[in-house]
């Protein structure tokens, strides 16, 4: 059914249609509306046979999820930013134990400085946690990916993180097609756990594993993600058959076949990039876009195939690996191994900084003219940076950096949007 609704609510409805059995949640912006919606649905009896638990921290949220998933219940939670870091130990534990929990990450920056707005540093900090990580481009895709996530998680017995841009998607009202219960039931069978805490067949889960088998157990986690690499396109195909929509898959490519320049990105910014590419195409530039939907497992082959005929690649990412530059670009460069093309990393949109078509057009123009360096910070205010660097050069007790820089910037609101 077509609906004009908030991204968070669309996700809540999708999760509800997946017949979850245990939902645990701790509030953190911008994930709150999702679990508020689910809490209401459970309390009102709209989601039958489901326990909604308000826990005392994100660490507890993931821990409750571990317990319920290990007892054979379909389990969901959501978090963002600091919350994801606070639960990190349990995040690794859930995947290490092979528990098919589904979690939304409403992508948000990591502090300090504290910032509630969108970027991808939270989810990317957990890239090696063993979770499958899927990035939604639109609210429709966010909704669809949650339905696929449960099926995928339970098939490979690994947890899945569905990442959607905080505020940009979670709080945006858009038209989405909400599927029927019959459609979701036809796609998603009841959860049949591979391992379960059951008094009729007692098992020990979570024993210590020493050097004699640790590598093998860890390799199995990798092998399962490689299986997911095969399964993700198959599931997108099955999804299309039932729901009539293209959603999910490993990557989304747009005008890449003849493109000399390909921009690689994840999440909602792909929309702005495509609009910019359309503008540049009409101006005669051979430019295309490759959107990464499955960040973990990383689709090296698909990326390589998409990029192999290009002359240059611009990886535009909402994340920063301090001390080297890009996070996503490191993986894209792995896929480029052996290909002769120019690679550029662009760090953009940190902490909610708007990524505008104007800036993108100028950026891609520079790339095409061969004027773009290896690492670029889009729309960085060098005056503010240099002023602070100067302050630190000249004064030992230069004070807290963020606060000084904010003072230099002046009106904060002027920088957003």
């Amino acid at each position: 059914m077509l609906k004009q609704t908030e991204g968070s609510h669309a996700v809540a409805e999708a999760v509800g249609l997946c017949r979850p059995e245990v939902i645990c949640a701790y509030p953190i912006s911008p994930q709150t509306h999702i679990v508020e919606g689910l809490g209401e649905m459970v309390k009102a009896g709209e989601i039958a046979n489901c326990e909604f638990i308000n826990v005392e921290s994100e660490f507890a949220a993931m821990s409750v999820a571990i317990g319920s998933s290990a007892t054979g219940a379909r389990t969901y939670t959501a978090t963002a930013s600091q919350g994801l870091l606070f639960m990190a130990e349990a995040v690794y534990n859930a995947s290490g134990l092979g528990l098919p929990i589904v979690m939304t990450v409403a992508n948000r920056a990591i502090g300090a400085p504290i910032n509630i707005w969108n970027d991808h540093t939270d989810a990317l900090s957990q890239r090696d946690s063993g979770w499958i990580q899927l990035f939604a481009e639109t609210n429709q895709e966010a909704l669809d990916l949650h339905i696929q996530a449960f099926k995928l998680a339970e098939e490979v017995s690994l947890p899945v993180m569905v990442c959607m841009d905080g505020f940009i998607l979670t709080h945006a009202y858009e038209r989405v097609d909400v599927p029927t219960q019959e459609q979701v039931d036809a796609f998603l069978p009841p959860y049949e756990p591979r391992q379960v805490l059951d008094p009729t067949e007692p098992v020990s889960i979570g024993a210590m594993v020493g050097p004699e088998a640790f590598s093998e157990v860890r390799y199995l986690a990798h092998a399962k993600q490689m299986q997911a690499l095969e399964l993700i396109p198959q599931m997108a195909e099955q999804f299309k058959q039932i729901f009539g929509r293209d959603s999910g898959g490993l990557t989304h490519s747009y005008l890449v076949d003849d493109a000399e320049t390909i921009v690689v990105a994840m999440g909602s910014v792909l929309g702005t990039i495509k609009d910019t590419v359309d503008d540049m195409r009409s101006a005669g530039e051979k430019i295309g876009v490759l959107g990464i939907t499955s960040y973990r497992p990383f689709p090296i082959e698909s990326v390589r195939t998409a990029l192999q005929n290009a002359q240059r690649v611009v990886v535009l990412e909402k994340s920063l690996a301090v001390g080297i530059g890009g996070v996503l670009s490191t993986d894209v460069r792995m896929a480029m191994s052996g290909l002769q093309l120019h690679g550029h990393t662009v760090v953009a949109g940190l902490g909610g900084r708007a990524i505008t078509r104007k800036s993108l057009r100028a950026l891609f123009g520079k790339a095409i003219r061969g004027e773009l360096g290896h690492l670029t910070f889009l729309d960085l205010d060098w005056n503010v940076v240099n002023k602070q660097l100067e302050r630190e050069r000249t004064k030992r007790r230069s004070g807290p950096a963020a606060e000084s820089m904010l003072r230099d910037v002046g009106v904060v609101a002027a920088r957003i949007g």
Binding site: E56, S57, A60, I66, G67, S68, L197, V203, A207
Partner: protein, 337 residues
């Protein structure tokens, strides 16, 4: 019942011969049908109080749950010594997740059971969570308090040996004052663990007004079985805190585990009581009052108090703490004095 009370004490101890008891009053451990939930062959140290406590507690819980029990276990000695895979001592479904999240994992198990029961996919299965004092009073405290506050249907058992014994005897918030640990060495002007620190989690559990809180020691295993059975007869959050001497960490002889647990109770160092909804409902009275010195002398972690120049003042402070417990919990029968 057809026995004389005098029989209970005829050997000069609390030992009760099962043959003197009615069938329903006999120990779970004395039953040939006991589950051996924590089976033999594990790798606990000789004289391990925790292994003994866990064996009695979990078998009693299994008995009360008619064999339908799931256990969540914190990282620690109990987890490590019971599951050096491919061997496991657990004869019940058992999960170890992390050091600090056991209460929350148990909450998740209980939630899953509730839903599965609603759906008719599972019968009544009960949940216990267990951890050492570090996993309970320190790193797992947030999750524990959350589980209490929500009154989740979990029995949490803390095996308190007063320190991080698994990592090499470091101080926890359950380490008693003056005790030597690897991080509170007997050096400097105030050797051993500081006075005026630490917390007594049973009292904090009571502040949550949960259905049941109890303390116990491995010196009185019948009392422990009684408390576990009673707790299993209730729903909601329940907490049992068991004092379990650690020969390694306490620097005590393996054969003194029971003796030390009994002295902890008889000196008043460790009050043994039970409480419902935040109110104390019963205490195990001190039978033969002992000075704390008797308890301290058996442990090398207090050896610095008994050197050439005994630390009389420190011993007096420890005695005062025990006396306070005796007054606070009414541990002495007036008639017995």
């Amino acid at each position: 019942m057809s026995f004389q009370p005098v029989h209970f004490y005829q050997t000069g101890t609390f030992t009760v011969g099962n043959r003197l008891l009615a069938q329903e009053e006999r120990s779970v451990q004395a039953n040939m049908e006991r589950t051996n939930s924590l089976n033999s062959g594990h790798r606990a140290c000789q004289g391990c109080g925790e292994a003994l406590g866990a064996r009695y507690a979990i078998d009693a819980a299994m008995n009360a749950a008619r064999g339908r029990l799931i256990a969540a276990n914190a990282t620690g000695c109990l987890e490590v010594f019971s599951t050096p895979y491919p061997e496991t001592s657990w004869q019940i479904p058992w999960i170890h997740s992390l050091f600090g999240n056991t209460a929350a994992v148990a909450t998740g198990i209980a939630a899953a059971i509730k839903v599965k029961r609603q759906k008719g996919q599972m019968g009544d299965v009960r949940v216990v969570a267990q951890g050492g004092d570090g996993g309970t009073t320190d790193i797992g405290f947030g999750c524990l308090s959350g589980m209490f506050e929500r009154n989740d249907d979990v029995l949490y058992i803390c095996y308190d040996n007063g320190g991080y014994m698994n990592t090499g005897v470091q101080r926890s918030s359950a380490t008693p004052p003056a005790a030597r640990t690897a991080t509170t060495m007997p050096v400097g002007p105030e050797p051993g663990n500081a006075f005026g620190q630490g917390k007594f989690v049973p009292a904090i559990a009571m502040a949550h007004e949960i259905p049941y809180v109890a303390t116990a020691t491995v010196a009185d295993l019948r009392d422990l079985e009684y408390k576990v059975t009673k707790a299993m007869g209730m729903r909601g959050a329940r907490y049992i805190h068991i004092l379990v001497p650690c020969p390694l960490g306490w620097g005590a002889a393996s054969q003194d585990t029971i003796k030390l647990a009994r002295l902890a109770k008889e000196t008043g160092i460790f009050p043994v009581f039970e409480a419902e909804r935040g109110e104390v409902t019963g205490v195990l009275k001190i039978r033969r009052p002992q000075p704390v010195e008797e308890y301290l002398r058996l442990q090398k972690r207090y050896a610095h108090l008994f050197g050439k120049k005994p630390a009389v003042e420190t011993i007096a402070r420890l005695q005062a703490a025990a006396d306070k417990n005796i007054r606070k919990y009414g541990l002495l029968d007036q008639e017995a004095n």
